[in-house]
């Protein structure tokens, strides 16, 4: 068990900066998820922590120890690889026991730990098999088991669910969360899937192009994204963005999108005032757009007119792809909504949950 600190860490490959001034402190027993699109540097950051890549600049600490020049084997970490990287020539038992054998742990202790971990993961009956005789899900659990038996200070996961089918992924997600509770150890988890990040993390670090965009709890990231990238990355379907202008009328502020004009809640007037008559980007999440007939009570709703391009019935909701003038957006509306493709519709924006961004800096206006 230990905290992990990235202090102004850089990793360059030639001219490419894969990790750009990463500065994070991960608390002991925390479940931190590094999330971002492919090639954003999240896996490189994890590999730097594992010692598989040398950092170009900065400092990485595990606990109070600077590990910049410490070999992977001496960092007291365990890692679950995306491809699982099981040793193909060893049985499941030997795969899990390998790290312990190298550390000269007594035989009965090895057996105790491997059996215990295998039972915990439900792979006790597979110990004699070779990796090639296992399904994808079983291999994944062996890879996790191999990490558990080592009882490391920090667990690293590199997209461990990306090779599983959708159903198994949901199941395994829950199992990894459970594991984190049981082991009470620091978990650092890399994924490109924001759903995985939201569901498992105690905190999420959103990374783009090697740069840390925002690090916070899942709910804060969802409620108060710092910039356009985070706003668009967290949440599914993604937040709708509208190129608009902030205008004034009757002492009230309005967001003018050309084909629509919606009122801003008065409690935000002071914050938004400096942007009066300037272009701004309005952000509204699909779940904050409703059918006016089924609007939740007490929200600050502003209606706009549009045309439905596509409807997708999901059972518990309908996703509408709507066009309003030059704007297109997605709405998640009540399943009782009666509307067909091509028909006109009026939808209500919940302006109480609106977001506004500066189009130049792409930062949230708060």
């Amino acid at each position: 068990m230990a905290s992990v600190t990235f202090e102004h860490v850089f990793k360059r490959f030639g001219d490419v900066i894969a990790v750009n001034d990463l500065d994070i402190k991960i608390e002991d027993k925390e479940f931190l998820v590094l999330v971002g699109p492919s090639g954003c540097g999240k896996t490189t950051a994890l590999r730097c922590l594992a010692g598989l890549e040398e950092i170009s600049d900065g400092k990485i600490m595990i606990g109070d120890r600077v590990v910049n020049d410490v070999a992977p084997k001496d960092r007291d970490i365990a890692m679950v690889f995306q491809s699982y990287a099981l040793y193909p020539h060893m049985s499941v038992y030997d795969n899990m026991a390998f790290g312990l054998k190298l550390r000269k742990v007594p035989k009965d202790e090895i057996k105790r730990r491997v059996t215990q971990a295998a039972d915990m993961l439900g792979i006790g009956h597979l110990l004699d098999r070779k990796p090639r005789q296992l399904s994808g899900g079983q291999r994944q659990r062996v890879a996790v088991g191999r990490a558990i038996v080592r009882e490391p200070k920090v667990f690293l996961f590199d997209e461990p669910l990306s090779n599983l089918d959708a159903k198994l992924r949901v199941e395994t997600r829950a199992n990894i969360s459970k594991l984190h509770l049981q082991l009470a150890t620091t978990f650092i988890y890399v994924t490109h899937d924001q759903v995985e990040a939201m569901t498992m993390a105690t905190r999420i670090a959103v990374i783009n192009k090697g740069l840390l965009q925002q690090i916070d709890t899942p709910q804060t990231l969802y409620d108060k994204p710092n910039n356009l990238f985070v706003a668009g990355f967290i949440g599914s379907p993604a937040m709708n963005f509208f190129k608009t202008k902030l205008v004034k009328g009757d002492g009230k502020l309005f967001v003018d999108g050309g084909s629509f004009k919606v009122e801003v809640p008065t409690d935000r007037n002071n914050v938004y005032m400096p942007y009066l008559d300037k272009p701004v980007i309005l952000g509204v999440r699909p779940e904050n757009i409703h059918d006016p007939n089924f609007c939740p009570p007490g929200i600050f709703a502003q209606n706009i007119d549009g045309k439905v391009d596509v409807t997708e019935l999901m059972g518990n909701e309908i996703q509408l792809y709507v066009t309003a003038g030059e704007h297109s957006f997605v709405a998640r509306v009540d399943p009782r909504t009666k509307v067909r493709m091509g028909e006109s519709i009026q939808v209500a924006f919940n302006m109480g949950n609106m977001h506004l961004f500066d189009p130049e800096t792409e930062q949230a206006i708060r």
């Binding site: 594992a50 010692g51 598989l52 070999a71 992977p72 084997k73 970490i77 365990a78 890692m79 690889f81 995306q82 491809s83 990287a85 099981l86 040793y87 193909p88 020539h89 390998f98 790290g99 190298l102 550390r103 070779k130 990796p131 090639r132 191999r146 080592r150």
Partner: protein
């Protein structure tokens, strides 16, 4: 039970009935195989039987074989001391290849495969001897081994050392075989290195990284992970090396002709001497049959003993 739906007529017309269709397929396969098969029969299978036939005669290679001697040739070979020396030398070359040549090739493959700066350059350099013709390689080594320090590079270097004396590399019966073996190693290590390089590239880098995170140092990683996963490559390399050693001819023949006093005789030079120098073709054919049987037996036994799965497939 549901009746099995009939095959639509249009399909039947196109493909004919099941059995005639299969016959047509087989005919096509046979036709495509025929040219290769004819060449194989004429130049490989027929000579084997021809050798078996001639090995039963005392035949000088001219005129029809008439002096039938039964198994005399085979018995005489086994009692010939030189044949036994050739056999022993074959075993020696095999042993040296397995102990020195292949580990060297593997070590170089590991070096030029990953970490060494300028590895592409070294890879090319190391592979060059294999591309060179065997005759040229042999002549080059003849120059290097020249006993006269004025002409032979190795001896020229040796005499530079205080107390250094020129060594008659190829005319000392105790040194000639290791000397020839050195030339063989130089000629062929690049080939085995290439095999190992290909094998190493098949091992996913994450498996070795997992080993490093699990606590293995470089040596443990190599011996516990890389080496076992190279298994099928090593088995192939050993197989080719053993067969190549048994059939070693050109380098030896050009450098030493099996001499001095048969000290570097191999099965192939022994056969060639009787077949094409002394023109005892019956006797030479019998030697060839022995070589064939040795290689065949080795192949069969080796294949049976090393039948192991390739762990990297199916992952």
């Amino acid at each position: 039970m549901q009746p099995i739906p009939a095959i639509p007529d249009i399909l039947k017309l196109k493909r004919g009935t099941g059995s005639s269709h299969r016959f047509q397929d087989n005919l096509t396969i046979a036709l495509f195989l025929l040219p290769a098969l004819i060449l194989f029969l004429i130049f490989v299978i027929y000579p084997i039987f021809q050798s078996v036939y001639y090995s039963l005669f005392d035949w000088k290679g001219f005129g029809p074989a008439v002096d039938f001697v039964g198994l005399d040739n085979f018995i005489n070979i086994l009692t010939d001391k030189v044949f036994l020396i050739a056999l022993r030398n074959g075993v020696f070359i095999i042993a040296f290849s397995l102990v020195f040549q292949l580990p060297l090739s593997l070590a170089l493959a590991v070096l030029v495969g990953r970490d060494l700066p300028g590895r592409v350059f070294f890879r090319t350099i190391f592979f060059m001897p294999y591309v060179l013709s065997e005759v040229m390689a042999a002549i080059m080594w003849l120059f290097l081994y020249n006993a006269d320090p004025e002409r032979g590079l190795l001896n020229a270097l040796l005499v530079l050392f205080p107390g250094g004396k020129a060594i008659p590399w190829l005319s000392d019966t105790n040194i000639v075989l290791p000397a020839v073996f050195l030339a063989i190693t130089w000629k062929y290590f690049g080939f085995h290195m290439l095999l190992y390089l290909a094998g190493l590239q098949n091992i996913p880098i994450e498996i070795e990284e997992a080993g490093r995170v699990d606590g293995a140092n470089s040596f443990q990683n190599f011996f516990y992970i890389t080496l076992p996963l190279l298994g099928s490559t090593i088995r192939t390399s050993v197989y080719l090396s053993v067969l190549g050693s048994l059939q070693q001819f050109i380098l030896v023949w050009i450098m030493t002709k099996g001499g001095p006093v048969n000290a570097s005789e191999t099965l192939a030079t022994y056969m060639y001497r009787f077949g094409f120098v002394r023109f005892q073709l019956g006797y030479g054919s019998a030697v060839a049959i022995y070589m064939f049987l040795i290689c065949l037996t080795f192949s069969l036994v080796y294949r049976r003993l090393t039948r192991q799965p390739d762990y990297l497939t199916g992952l």
